[in-house]
Amino acid sequence: MQPSPEQLEFFAEDVSVTILPNFSLSRGQETAHCIGGDYGPFQPNFPSDVPLWLAMYLHRHKKCKIEAPAWMSIDRLQELYDQERSMAAVFQHVPYHYIEISRLLLMFAKDSFGSDFHRTRELIEMIRKVRFNKIDSGLQMLQGPMTVKLNNLSAIEINTIRPFFAGALDRFWKLAKMGETEEVPRQSSARVTQGSAESPVRQLRATVAA
């Protein structure tokens, strides 16, 4: 059992973002006292930090403008993308829920990005592909029972590889326990990873070269 994609999005909605409200709550009650914390006070055009779910809710009712998070600026994303590409062995630090957050914001709060919207979406998509490419090549290294370090992997990335990765390691462990040689699992695992890696990896290289 693992969190569903919908649940991951739900978890991601607890991330804090900055909004510019265009309303104020009534007098005597300027702050919202929620179970998860106090949010506000809200004054028109005074920035306020709220969780993403609240920002999305207010935005849907045209009550605020969401400021795009700093890491989602084009310069930062470009820098991140270059670093991600230049260092093949490590994953760059990204917000744990970067895919979910960017999806929600790019879908429902387009006005936060203005003219940068398309470029931002494109960069995030590129970063996502580079990272998945790395994961794929990482999976091909898998041979025999081991503990693997995966620093800076994000929630969706973990969820995506969990069934295969954990399953493969479970199998390796079981076979090692039985005292068998590792020949059989190694061959089959290499075949599977190469097969699954094929299309996205090739596509990516093609776009990069072009």
Binding site: P3, C34, I35, G36, L169
Partner: protein, 219 residues
């Protein structure tokens, strides 16, 4: 260490994502329960605190109904209460699902039974009764005399050996919350350096105690 080599304000700290409010704690409890092979200790205090907070907040919402100008605030509270309720429901459901999977194991092992809430024990007993009756009438009644046992494969088995037990050797993803130094991950004495914020995929059994004591978080 890990936090130092990643400077800049673009970083969202895990502390922001998993802060200290009960809402964050139930979220982590839910994730742990979903990905952990065995059933974990029931968070009785946490569930109670959340339940009372929810009912307080619902009372506040009722109160706000009288003031039309507070509509927005009321809606904000309502949305949040729904979110908290959802987390709580998911947590309880995730536990029930695991309970059903290993119902005999949970009731058989006193140490595991300790981890369940009163209601969960009741649920498990009822469930086991139904399951047992079903298997007895439909399967075991047709078996030869020596193989009629629900808990033992045959009358010569010396222990309860039909019980499905969780496999603690499955691999889990985990995040290290505090420096742990070298942790033994293998029977051969192989160790791995667990530093703060590291993320590992590792066999569950060696890190079981670290998870229980909250040094390591399942993700």
């Amino acid at each position: 260490m890990a936090s130092q080599d990643a400077p800049g304000s673009s970083q969202v700290d895990f502390a922001n994502l998993y802060g200290e409010s009960d809402v964050s704690i139930i979220k982590q409890a839910l994730i742990s329960e979903q990905v952990c092979p065995e059933i974990l200790q029931y968070q009785e205090d946490l569930v109670q605190r959340l339940e009372s907070q929810i009912s307080n907040q619902e009372a506040t919402i009722q109160e706000l109904n009288k003031h039309a100008e507070q509509d927005l605030l009321k809606m904000i509270y309502t949305v949040e209460v729904q979110r908290v309720k959802y987390s709580l429901r998911c947590y309880l459901r995730a536990r029930l699902k695991k309970l059903e999977q290993h119902v005999m194991h949970c009731l058989d092992d006193p140490e595991v039974k300790e981890r369940l809430s009163e209601k969960e024990v009741k649920y498990a007993e009822d469930y086991f009764l139904l399951l047992g009756q079903h298997i007895s009438t439909n399967v075991l009644s047709a078996m030869p005399q020596d193989f009629k046992g629900l808990l033992r494969q045959s009358s010569v088995s010396d222990a309860n050996d039909t019980l499905a037990r969780p496999n603690l050797d499955t691999h889990v993803f985990c995040k290290v919350l505090e420096d742990q130094g070298n942790v033994e991950v293998d029977d051969n004495g192989d160790t791995v350096d667990f530093s703060k914020d590291d993320l590992y995929i590792v066999r569950y059994r060696p890190i079981r105690d670290l998870v229980r004591d909250n040094w390591v978080q399942l993700i």
